[in-house]
C-alpha cells in the first residue's frame, strides 16, 4: 500500500482561512453526506466479501477496486480538511487528485484462516495494540495540525517533518483498515513511514496489471464481437443494453 500526500512548497493562506471558516459548509457537509451513503454500500460489499473470501479465498476484484477508490476519496477529503493540501477534493469514487494518491495492489488470494482469525480475534491482536499507539499518535497529530495551521497562516509554509508525521498517521490508520477489511493479508507495521516493500510490488504490478486483464477480456469479446463492434478500452466490455 502506498499513500502519498504531496507536501506543497507553499500553502495558500486565503484557502486556509476559507477552509477554517466555511470548510464545514462547503467541504465537510457535502463530502461526509455522500461518503456516509456510499460507506453503507461499501459496508454491505465488505460484509459480503467476507463470505466470498471465506468460501473462495479471493476478494472479488471489482469490489476490491471500489473499496480502494472509496478510501482514496476519503483520503482526498481528509487531507484537505487537515490542511495537508490545498484545493478542493474531487467528489466520487472515480475522482482523482494530483496531490493525494493511494495505491493498493490487488492480492490474488486472501488467507481464509486469517479471515476467521481477524474476525474473531482482530479486536485483540490488531485493533487494541494499533489503537493504543494510534491514539497517542493522533494526539500528537492534533497538536501538530494546530501548530501547522499557525505556521501556514503566518509563513505560508507547512513544516516538512510535521507534514510527513501527519501523513504517516493517516497511512498507519489506513494500513490497519486495509488489514481489518480483508483487503490485505499483511499485518500492519507499527509505523507511519512508507515501507520499501510496499512501493516495489506496486511499481511492478501496475504495468502487467493492465496487460493481464486485456487479453482475458479480448478472449471473451469474440463471443459477442458482432454485437459490440465499438468497444475500445473497455475492450472487451460488451454493451449489453444496446437494445
Amino acid at each position: 500500500m502506498t499513500l502519498s500526500i504531496q507536501h506543497q512548497e507553499s500553502y495558500s493562506r486565503g484557502e486556509l482561512l476559507l477552509r477554517t471558516i466555511f470548510g464545514a459548509i462547503y467541504i465537510f457537509v457535502p463530502h461526509v453526506f455522500l461518503l456516509a451513503f456510499i460507506g453503507i454500500w461499501a459496508g454491505i460489499l465488505g460484509f459480503l466479501a467476507f463470505w466470498v473470501v471465506l468460501f473462495t479465498g479471493s476478494y472479488p476484484q471489482s469490489w476490491f477496486e471500489f473499496q480502494v477508490k472509496l478510501m482514496n476519496w476519503s483520503m482526498r477529503f481528509t487531507a484537505t480538511i487537515m490542511h495537508l493540501v490545498d484545493g478542493y477534493p474531487a467528489f466520487g469514487v472515480n475522482g482523482t487528485s494530483d496531490k493525494v494518491s493511494l495505491t493498493v495492489s490487488y492480492p490474488e488470494t486472501i488467507s481464509r484462516g486469517l479471515v476467521i482469525v481477524r474476525t474473531l480475534f482482530g479486536a485483540i491482536y490488531v485493533v487494541l495494540p494499533h489503537g493504543v499507539c494510534l491514539m497517542f499518535r493522533m494526539m500528537a497529530t492534533g497538536v501538530l495540525a494546530i501548530l501547522a495551521w499557525f505556521s501556514v497562516l503566518f509563513t505560508g509554509n507547512y513544516p516538512d517533518r510535521w507534514h510527513a508525521f501527519n501523513v504517516g498517521t493517516l497511512r498507519w490508520g489506513l494500513r490497519v483498515q486495509l488489514y481489518m477489511t480483508f483487503l490485505t493479508d499483511e499485518y500492519p507495521k507499527f509505523t507511519g513511514k512508507e515501507l520499501e516493500e510496499d512501493a516495489a510490488p506496486i511499481a511492478e504490478a501496475e504495468a502487467p496489471a493492465a496487460d493481464d486483464t486485456a487479453p482475458a477480456r479480448d478472449d471473451a469479446s469474440p463471443a459477442t464481437d458482432d454485437a459490440t463492434p465499438a468497444s475500445d478500452d473497455a475492450g472487451s466490455k460488451e454493451k449489453p443494453d444496446g437494445e
Binding site: 453503507i40 454500500w41 459496508g43 454491505i44 460489499l45 465488505g46 460484509f47 459480503l48 463470505w51 466470498v52 473462495t56 479471493s58 472479488p60 476484484q61 471489482s62 469490489w63 486483464t213 482475458a216 477480456r217 478472449d219 471473451a220 469474440p222 463471443a223 459477442t224 458482432d226 454485437a227 459490440t228 463492434p229 472487451s236 466490455k237 460488451e238 454493451k239 449489453p240 443494453d241 444496446g242 437494445e243
Partner: protein, 167 residues
C-alpha cells in the same frame, strides 16, 4: 451493422474473465445485503440488487444477465417479505392476535425464502464457474433481454452454456 439483432454468441466459461465471473456471482449475494446492513428490512435487498444491476449493467452481457436475473427474482420475494414484516408490525403495534392465517403465511414465506436462498446459492456458484443458470420465468426474461433468440441458432448442444430450455 444495425442494432444488435445479428448473432450474439453465448460466452462459454473459458471465455469469461475471472472478474466477470466474480461480478456475476456478486449479483446473487445481494439477497444478503440486509444482513450486511444489520437491518431486517427486506426491501434493502431489493434496493441493493437494483444498485448492483445499475452499477454493472454496462459491463459484460454475462454479468448483466445475472445481475438482471437476480434483480427480477428479488422483486416477488421482497414483496412477500415486506408484507410479512408489515403484518407482523401491525399485529405488534395494534395489539392484534397472531391468527392461524398469519402463521400459515409466515411459514409459507419462510419456506419460500429457504427455496429462494438455495437456488440463489446454486446460481451464485454457477455464475462463478462462468455458467448460466436460469431461474423459472426470470431466466428466460433475462436471457431474452441480453442475448435474444439469435443466440439460439449459434449454439451447439454440447457446449456448457446453452439458452433456456425451449427458447
Amino acid at each position: 451493422m444495425e442494432g444488435h439483432s445479428t448473432h450474439i454468441a453465448l460466452p462459454q466459461p473459458h471465455e469469461i474473465p475471472k472478474r466477470d465471473r466474480e461480478d456475476a456471482m456478486g449479483a446473487y449475494l445481494m439477497m444478503f445485503a440486509a444482513w450486511g446492513a444489520g437491518l431486517p428490512l427486506p426491501l434493502l435487498n431489493l434496493l441493493a440488487a437494483i444498485i448492483y444491476f445499475f452499477t454493472n449493467k454496462k459491463t459484460s452481457r454475462f454479468v448483466s444477465f445475472h445481475a438482471y436475473q437476480s434483480l427480477l427474482t428479488q422483486i416477488p420475494i421482497s414483496i412477500l417479505n415486506a408484507s410479512a414484516v408489515a403484518w407482523t408490525l401491525r399485529n405488534l403495534y395494534k395489539d392484534y392476535a397472531f391468527s392461524d392465517y398469519f402463521w400459515t403465511y409466515f411459514i409459507f414465506i419462510g419456506l419460500w425464502n429457504l427455496i429462494y436462498m438455495i437456488f440463489s446459492i446454486i446460481a451464485c456458484v454457477q455464475a462463478r464457474k462462468g455458467r448460466f443458470y436460469y431461474f423459472w420465468v426470470f431466466g428466460r426474461i433475462s436471457f431474452a433481454r441480453y442475448f435474444g433468440p439469435d443466440a439460439v441458432s449459434l449454439e451447439e448442444k454440447e457446449k456448457p452454456n446453452l439458452p433456456p430450455e425451449g427458447f
